[in-house]
Structure formats: C-alpha cells, structure tokens
C-alpha cells in the first residue's frame, strides 16, 4: 500500500467529532433543562404570591374598599407583578385592578364589559373545578390556572371563596422575567480543545500503533465527558436548591406583608399552604423530595450521549468511515442513480414503518402527539391488551350470547371467514366461466369475455359505493327484487350476517374476473391433442378434468390464489365503504379496524400495535406461501 492510513490522524478526527457531538449535545440539554427549571421556579414563586394574595383578599371580604386598599398596597410592594385583578361573580364586577388598561373611565370598581367575557368564563371554569373536586373528594381538576402571557410572563388565576362558595376570581400577571442563563460557551470550548491538545501532544509518543492510540483517545473522551456531565449535573442541582431557597424566601416575605394587611382574627392567613401545585395541594418540602427521578433521568441522558460519542470515535478511529467513503466514491455513479429513489423510500416508507413500530409501544393518542415517545412508553401493554383479551362473547342475563365486536379475535375470525369465502367464490365462479368460455366453437365468446372483465376494470371504490346504493333498505334495487318475489325488504346493515353478505357480493362481483382471466390463459395453453388422446383412451369428461385440466391450471392458479388471499385480507375499500363495519363494528376486517382505532378513536399507539400484528400475520403468510410455492414447483 502506498499511502498507509494514519491511525493517529483517524483517531484525532474521531476524537474531535466525538467531543463535538458529546459536548454539543450536553450543552443543548443543559440549556433546555435550565430553561425548564427557571419556568418551574417562576411558576412556584408566582403561585406563592397568588395564594398569599388570595388569603389577603378573602380576609378583606372579597369586595369593597378594603380589598382595593389591600390590592394597592400589595401591588406597591411587588415590582414582580405587572397586574392584579379581582373579579366578583355577584354583579359580574371588577372589584379591584392594578392593570394599566383599567384606568380612567375603566377603573375598578365597574361591571365587566362584553369583551371581557373570557375572564368571566375563566372564573366560572375555576368554580366548576373546585366544585367537582369537592364533590369527588379528589384533585382531578386544576384549581389554579397558569397561562403564558407575553414574553415569558405568567398569567395566573385562582378562585376566591366566601362562606364556602366560590364567589370570585383573583388574577395576577407577572412582569417579564429576566433573560435565561447564558449557554456556557467558554467552558464548553475549553472542554473541547483541552483534550485535543493533550491528544496532539501525546499521540507522537505513542507512534502509529492502533491499540495505544485507541486507548488514549477513548480515555480522554471518557474522562472529559464524565467531568463535563458531572459539572452539568451540579449546575442543575444548584439550580434546584436555589429554587427551593427562593420559594422559601418568597413565602417569608409574603407572610410579613399579609400579616400587616389582614386585620388580626379576620380570617386565616396560612403561609404553610402557599407553596402548592395547580391543584392547590401543598408541595412536599425540598428536604422531602428525593433527588431520584429527575437526576436519574439526567444521568441516563448523559450516558446515551456518551454512547453516541464513543460510536462516532470508533467509526472514524477504526477506519470504517474511510472504508465507507472509499466504497461510496468507487461506486459513486451507481449510488448517485439510486439515491433519489432510496431517499424517498427511506423518508416516506421505511422511516414511517419503524416509527409506526415505535408508536406501537406507546400510548400515543391525538392529544399527546407533541410529547416525545419516551414519555409515553408503555412497553408491550398495547399488545397485551389486543392479544390478551379473550372475552369475545359474554352471556347476557337472558342467556343469549353478546359478542364484543371490538375484540381482536372476533375481527380476526371475521377476516378469515371473509377471505376464505371470497377466494372460494372468486375461484369457483372464475374457473367455471373460464371453462365455459374455453369451449371451442361457442359463439359470441369475445363479447362475453369483455363484458365479464368489466368489474375488474372499474375503480373498486366506485364499485363499493354502487353496491352500497343497491343494498339501500328503502330504494335499493335488491330489496325491490325481493319484493317482486313477495319477500319482505331486508335492512341489510342491521345484522352482522346480512351485512357480511353485502360486502361478500360486492367483492365477489369485482374479484371473479381476475380468476377467470388467469384460468382462461392457462386453459388456452393446454394443447388440444392431449384431450384427443385421453378420449381415445376412453377417459370420461370428469376424468379428463381431473387428470389434464386441473394439473395444467395449477401453476398459474396457485400464485393467483395466493395473491388474491392477500388482496382480500387487505380489501380496505370494500369493507370501509360498503358496510363501514356496521352493525357495531361486527363486519370490520383487521385493517379497517386498525384504521378506525387510529382515525376515529384516535388511539394511535393501540392502532399501531394492531397494524404490527397484521404485518406479522402477513409476514407469516408470506413465509408459508414461499414454502408452499417451492414445494408445488418441485412437483
């Protein structure tokens, strides 16, 4: 080899990229975590103030001049509050306000104007929540609303109670918070360059030997990432301690202020109940919170990042990257031709498939698509619910069987019945017509043939809608025919069996031409001489069919049956458009059921698990089919 690859250089590049990845990701995660912590801190402080002020306003009797005095005094000593508003439901009045908008002729007290309906509704919402929680003796609904105002400020509201009833609402808006802590760029750069410098200095001493270089680079990477992660975790820890300290300080400050504003003995000012969550449940004190959950998750994240960084180091250091690059450039023309199609397939077929499999392990619904999948992870729970529920039928009190049509095994059974009966009908009718059409000397054969193929040519969604129309209870043609023969009209879609018949006739109608064309092609390729010979031997017609026709049909008919099983199994349009699963989901096949779980019940995770099971069934079928095909080819 002329230009031997430099291990030193490779590990150097690998180390640099791994450091960039590891430290870069860590810094981004740190910034995200600190921003989240700052939000929590601001919210907790605001809630303390809100609860304290609630006590003060309730102590002042909710309405009247004492409230306005208290609110004004409170506002003066709180530069962190942009506005305070007190709304009383009785008379729909704004009792007190320090909002700059409520000055001049809009100053409190006054009736709420029409545009302020939102505020009134908010109050009523809180009242309803408090009442629900009281009735249920639980904290199911939020009793404090926290919303986002402009530029990171918070907008909070709490109910005001008088004589055990929610009689009003207190709103506060915080001032714009200080800018978030800056990203520690200098530290990060130091952590990035220092190990590179060490490596650059040490590498010449190690020479061009792969093992020592690998150990040196890995060691440097491990030490640096560990140190950086530890520092990051420390910063986050300090943030949390600082939050608890500041909240405690806020409680102390408000205690002093509230004590001065509320007449002694007028009402309970209870600082112990100020640091609460949005359900107005006291938060456990800082000492009581074990550092478990958040910290462990933080450590896991850093661990994941480190693994990624090491993979990168190995990829470059061991020369895999170089080899990949060489392969790509040697076959660049071929890859260039393939990349567009492959890219499209990866983005819109393979990635969605893997993503779908991932979703199947979560409890994703339409309401939580914004959350990362890891937060919704439930493992195999969906599969357990689908496959572990054997309650297909229940005995009703009167002794009859009541089927649970949403049960997986019902749908599976129905799908199998549906597939088998359709394919049987298709093959029987198709083969019969092909045999007739193959009769030599029969007149008008081409015309019959073209007309009989028509159903295959029609778009199947149109076929489905036509048949749905023809099965209409009142105006449908089929019920008219039944009545001509003196029968009673049938409500086709009211019973599972009749509903099944509608889909079966529709699909039978559109699927027999395929079998007919296949059989006809095979029949025409059988030389007539064989039949002549058989007749000379004295074979009966049935014997000829058994001994000559069927074996010659086999090679083309078996693949056709195999493929039409898959088509029927997946015949979405017919079921979806003809029966729509009526009645009560009894005539759904697996894929329409999966579709309905996703797009009518919006249970994405459950529907994805359902689809994966369908995929596995098809995969198993495909494998068996391959074996069978090979076996029949051997015959």
């Amino acid at each position: 080899m002329k230009s031997a690859p430099s291990h030193r250089l490779r590990f150097g590049i690998g180390l640099a990229l791994a450091l960039a990845l590891g430290i870069g990701l860590d810094v981004l995660l740190l910034a995200g975590a600190r921003a989240a912590d700052a939000r929590v801190r601001a919210e907790r402080q605001a809630i303390v103030t809100l609860n304290a002020l609630t006590d003060v306003v309730v102590g002042a009797g909710i309405s009247g001049d004492p409230v306005r005095t208290a609110v004004a005094a409170w506002s003066k000593s709180h530069p962190s509050l942009a506005a305070i508003r007190v709304i009383v439901f009785d008379g729909i009045s704004l009792e007190a306000s320090t909002d700059p908008k409520d000055s001049g002729d809009r100053a409190a007290p006054r009736r709420l104007s029409r545009e302020e309906k939102d505020a009134y509704d908010r109050g009523q919402r809180l009242r309803a929540s408090v009442e629900t929680n009281r009735q249920e003796g639980a904290a199911r609904k939020e009793e404090i609303e926290v919303g986002a105002a402009d530029r990171g400020a918070l907008d909070l509201a709490a109910p005001l109670e008088k004589d055990g009833e929610v009689a009003g609402m207190l709103e506060i808006r915080t001032a714009t918070p200080p800018p978030p802590a800056p990203i520690p760029v200098t530290t990060a750069l130091l952590y990035f360059f220092a190990p590179l410098a060490v490596y650059a200095a040490a590498a010449p001493l190690l020479g061009e030997r792969r093992a020592p270089l690998a150990v040196a680079a890995s060691l440097l990477l491990a030490v640096v990432l560990f140190l950086f992660a530890r520092q990051t975790l420390r910063i986050l820890d300090a943030d949390r301690v600082e939050t608890d300290r500041q909240v405690a300080a806020r409680v102390g400050q408000e205690t002093g202020l509230a004590g001065g504003l509320v007449a002694p003995g007028a009402a309970a000012v209870n600082p112990a109940k100020w640091d609460t969550d949005v359900f107005r449940h006291p938060r456990p004190g800082a000492a009581a919170t074990p550092p478990g959950g958040a910290e462990r998750r933080g450590r896991n994240v850093f661990f994941g990042v480190a693994i990624g960084a090491f993979a990168l180091l190995a990829f470059f250091g061991l020369g895999l990257a170089a080899r990949l690059g060489a392969t790509l450039s040697r076959h660049r023309v071929a890859y260039l031709y393939i990349v567009p199609a492959m890219l499209a397939m990866i983005v819109l077929v393979f990635f969605p498939f893997l993503y779908g499999v991932a979703i199947s392990f979560t409890q994703q619904t339409i309401y939580n698509t914004g959350q990362p999948l890891s937060h919704l992870w439930v493992g195999l729970q969906n599969y357990g619910h689908i496959l572990g529920d054997f309650a297909v039928a229940k005995r009703a009190p009167d002794g009859s069987l009541a089927f649970n049509y949403l049960n997986f095994y019902w749908t599976l059974l129905f799908t199998i019945v549906w597939t088998v009966s359709n394919v049987t009908i298709g093959v029987t009718v198709g083969l019969l017509l092909a045999l007739i059409l193959n009769t030599a000397g029969l007149k008008l054969r081409p015309i019959y043939r073209v007309l009989l193929i028509l159903p295959w040519a029609m778009p199947n969604y149109i076929t489905a809608l036509i048949w749905k129309g023809m099965f209409h209870r009142q105006f449908g043609v089929i019920n008219q025919v039944i009545q001509i023969f003196g029968g009673q009209p049938i409500s086709w879609f009211d019973k599972p069996f009749t509903s099944f018949l509608t889909a079966l006739s529709t699909n039978g109608w559109l699927s027999f031409p395929f079998m007919m064309v296949i059989s006809l092609g095979a029949l025409q390729s059988i030389p007539g001489e064989i039949y002549e010979a058989a007749r000379v031997e004295g074979a009966s017609r049935w014997q000829q069919f058994r001994a000559i026709t069927l074996p010659s049909l086999k090679p083309s008919l078996i693949p056709a049956i195999i493929i039409s099983v898959v088509w029927t199994f997946n015949m979405f349009n017919i079921i979806f458009l003809v029966t729509g699963g009526e009645p009560g989901g009894s005539t759904e096949i697996l894929i329409t059921q999966a579709y309905k779980f996703a797009f009518e019940r919006y249970r994405y995770g459950y529907a994805a698990a359902y689809s994966v099971i369908i995929f596995l069934i098809l995969l198993a079928y495909g494998t068996v089919q391959n074996r069978v095909t090979r076996a029949t080819e051997g015959l």
Binding site: I338, L444, P459, Y461, G469, I563, I614
Partner: protein, 293 residues
C-alpha cells in the same frame, strides 16, 4: 378438428349460464348509467306509488331512466366543485407518474447495470416494503406529512406519498426490462467516450420505451384511483381528489346519488379504457408477487 362429442354440454345451456353471469356483471354498471341519466338525485330508478303493484316494482328494477336528462352531468361541472376535484386528481396522478418514472428508471437502471455493495439489500428492501400494511405507515405518514412537513391538504404531500407507494413495483418492473436489453450498444458507446448519463438518456431510455409506458400507466392508475390516503390527508373540500369527492356525494348524510353516478362514469371511462389497453401486462406484473396492503 371439432372437439364436440356427445359428452359435451349443449351450447344453449352454456349460453344461458353466460347470459346470467353477464347480466349480473353488467347490471350495476347499467344501474349507475341509469341514475346518472335520470337527472335526479334519488337512488331509486322509478318513484313507487304508495301501494306498488308488481309491475311498478319491475319498472323500478329495469335499468332505464324514466326520462333521460343530462342535468346531472351539467350541474356536476357548474354547481358542484367536481371540476376542481378532477383537476386535483389529474395533477396528482400526472405528477406521481412523472416523479415515479424518474425515480424508478434511475434506480432500476443502477440495479440492472451496476454491481455494488448493498445492491441485493436495496433490491430486497423494495420488495419487503410491499408487505408493510398501509394502515401501519398511515399513522406515521400522517404525522410526518401533516404535522412535521405541513403538507396536509396539499397536492405535493399526496404526490410524494403516492410516488413512494408506486416506486417498488416500478423499480422491479423496469429493472427486469433493462436486464433484457443487450449491453453491446452501451459498451460500444462507452468506447466512443460517452458518459454514463448520456448512455442512460440516449440509448437505454429510448430502448425501454414500452416498459416505461406500462409503468407510467400503472403509476397513473395508482394516483387516479387511490382513496384512503387522499381521504385521510385532504381535509379541505376544494382540495379533494375525485375519489374523495365522489364519496363526499353519498357518504354520511349526503344522498346525492345523481351527482355520484355521473361523476363515477366520468372518472371510470379513462380508467376502464386504460385497463383494457394494459390488461395483459397487468396479469403478468401483478402475479409476479406483489403483496401490497
């Protein structure tokens, strides 16, 4: 050479069977024609009196309108947004065809002519992708196309999704055809100093015209007939494709059967014509082992 003997069934019986079968086959199509030409929205062929006699009922079954009128076709194009839906369908199907052919021809050519690492894996991955159930990829596709790319209710989104649905079949089909084209011509051109791109454009593509035509028509039919994806992605009424629009006429509580029937005929005619043109390719191509859900 007549094979008739006394064991053969009489031709009259065969004709009777064929006649019944043809009647059953053609009836729904005649029914649709009747409703379309009736000029009314009802799905009954004839209005029945309160106490219908057998003759009235017979009238209501015979697929011939009480009075022939083109009103349904006229108002389909004037009062209803059907023109818009047809245009959407045509654009989507045409764009799918163009994009699909471009991607499939390049990839198929590379798979046919070059030997490179991961060639088999690539080819097999196209085949395996045919086994993914549509519903499984539908949920992530919905999230990717609508939520991430913001292409909900756009023709672009639909074209992308349809193209990837059609690619695997087209790649295999074209690769198979390229394999049958002898390499001598290309080698000669290579000696003359032509670049791979020139060879592909000037020599291979023109020779593969028949296969490309069939693949193109197949892609077009995929885009023109597709229903579920379009129904899921196209929320806005003016962005419906023809299939979704036709369903809209008679789905839910809407009962505009006249519009549906007229529209169904307009949409079906080109596709039925294409079908008869493509028939023999379809039989060989589809039985070659596609397992698409």
């Amino acid at each position: 050479m007549s094979r008739r003997n006394k064991e053969e069934l009489p031709h009259s019986l065969l004709h009777a069977i064929l006649l019944v079968a043809t009647l059953v086959t053609v009836y729904p199509i005649l029914w649709v024609l009747t409703i379309a030409l009736s000029g009314k929205q009802s799905l009954a062929i004839a209005d029945l009196p309160a106490t219908p006699a057998v003759s009235d009922r017979l009238r209501a079954v015979i697929p011939w309108p009480e009075s022939i009128s083109l009103a349904n076709f006229r108002s389909l194009f004037t009062d209803q947004p059907f023109t818009r839906w047809l245009i959407n369908s045509a654009i989507v199907a045409a764009a799918t065809t163009l994009l699909g052919i471009f991607l499939a021809a390049t990839a198929g050519y590379a798979f046919s002519r070059f030997r490179f690492p991961a060639r088999r894996v690539g080819l097999m991955s196209f085949l395996v992708s045919q086994m993914f159930p549509g519903v499984l990829t539908l949920i992530p596709l919905y999230i990717i196309v609508v939520k991430w790319l913001g292409l909900g209710s756009t023709r672009t989104g639909l074209v992308l999704v349809y193209t990837t649905t059609a690619i695997p079949f087209c790649v295999w089909m074209l690769k198979g055809y390229f394999d049958t084209i002898p390499r001598d011509l290309e080698e000669a051109a290579l000696m003359e100093g032509a670049s791979p791109l020139t060879i592909f454009r000037r020599i291979v593509l023109p020779l593969a015209k028949p296969a490309i035509a069939v693949t193109a028509l197949f892609s077009f039919m995929t885009g023109w007939n597709e229903f579920i994806l379009a129904a899921t992605f196209m929320d806005k009424e003016n962005m419906y494709t023809a299939p979704v629009g036709l369903r809209f006429f008679v789905g839910g509580f809407s009962q505009q059967w006249g519009y549906f029937a007229a529209g169904a005929i307009i949409v079906s005619i080109p596709i039925v014509a294409l079908f008869f043109f493509l028939q023999r390719y379809l039989v060989s191509g589809l039985t070659a082992g596609s397992v698409k859900g």
